[in-house]
Symmetry: none
Subunit: 133 residues, 4 copies
């Protein structure tokens, strides 16, 4: 279950990693139903990345996978063109990670946006690593 | 300006007050343009109050007043019926407070939802009191 | 036809009247199809009144009458309850005026929001008076 | 801060340049939070470009860059496919310019639509050049 404590830990670790990298990001944590649990926009992050962070996390919850994995289904030539238009619009690029309980149950996701895609993924991994059970 | 530090302080104080009252709430802080800055859904808060907390804060930003003050304009017999339908839907009841800088500039708002309306307002006031300049 | 010249004249006159009254408003002019033609948010007008000004003008275009006249249909006890929910939400209170050509053709509307309802209507009338044919 | 005076100056200069080029455009100025400040649709501009002008300006505010720069992130092969679906839909092509204060603070944006993309950008630059501090 995505508790307040876990969400706090994830966001705190993500913020710490972003600060290390010298980048301002948005960090969003959703529960297993895709509903917002915790959010932080660091000073200096662009406004457009609020929605992107939440959307990456939502993409990860909806398909129970990393956000960029969805692109394998809807990229040019892939079998599900326009899948990215479903569910009110997906963000099929890196920075969204599902959060799984030790038994493999999906309990939520986090999404990071504000840096480069590589930075966002790095920060998201640091956030996820702080989630304990 | 609604900084991460101020938003963190507001949400932490609101959570502490909610815990004192034994109620689980959502706390949302927006900047002066109505964009999400910080958010927390405490364990046990109902899902429907996520949107309500954000909407109360947005109502307070949009009209630069406490969210319930908007009801004076759209209550039965008041001069602006259906005003609550504007701006994608307002939340004209207590729990949203504008955040003003010492010079009176509107720098954002917070919205609390999850308890009774009286509790939400109490918690919002505690959050606002923690915002320093 | 709602020309740029007419829309400019309407907004300029509305702004001048608002300045006389010492109130900051939003002024929106739409064409006969309800599409935005000219808009101005005066310094100090609250953000929430952007949408309200446009919505009043849209209400006036959609029903070819003053915005507050729509309330006669949807007020408690009137024959069309919830009419205000139609068309994406109406603003059935004063401040929206249709613009008619000399032959009675509806060519657009203006909407004013930011003052009291009485002020908004006063300013809208001043704007309309500046529309020449 | 995006004042009425600045927004008026921007739109007037954009209109003058559009007239020189013999093209009818929509000109939209937003504040730093993405809220509409001033708008003009010149006679003859197509209806569909109302939304495009506002959307270009919104894109520029949200990502604090020229609207077309967003395409570098979401073009085929770029790292953020479908980014253009975020934030209610972006307009990642030329004609939206951020407005920066002398200290580099983002205070708003303007968006031009109605001509060719090259014309729109030319007109937007003329508008921006008229913004004084």
């Amino acid at each position: 279950m995505m508790t307040t404590r876990r969400a706090d830990d994830i966001v705190a670790a993500a913020r710490a990693r972003a600060a290390e990298l010298g980048v301002a990001v948005n960090a969003a944590v959703l529960d297993g139903g895709g509903h917002l649990k915790t959010f932080c926009r660091m000073d200096g992050a662009v406004l457009g990345s609020i929605d992107v962070a939440i959307r990456k996390a939502r993409t990860a919850v909806l398909f129970a996978c990393r956000s960029e994995a969805v692109w394998e289904y809807c990229a040019p030539g892939a079998p599900a063109p326009a899948l990215e238009l479903s569910n009110g619009g997906l963000a099929p690029f890196a920075g969204g990670l599902p959060v799984l309980a030790p038994d493999g149950t999906l309990i939520g996701a986090l999404g990071i946006s504000g840096g480069t895609v590589d930075q966002d993924l790095d920060i998201a991994k640091a956030g996820l690593a702080a989630c304990t059970f």
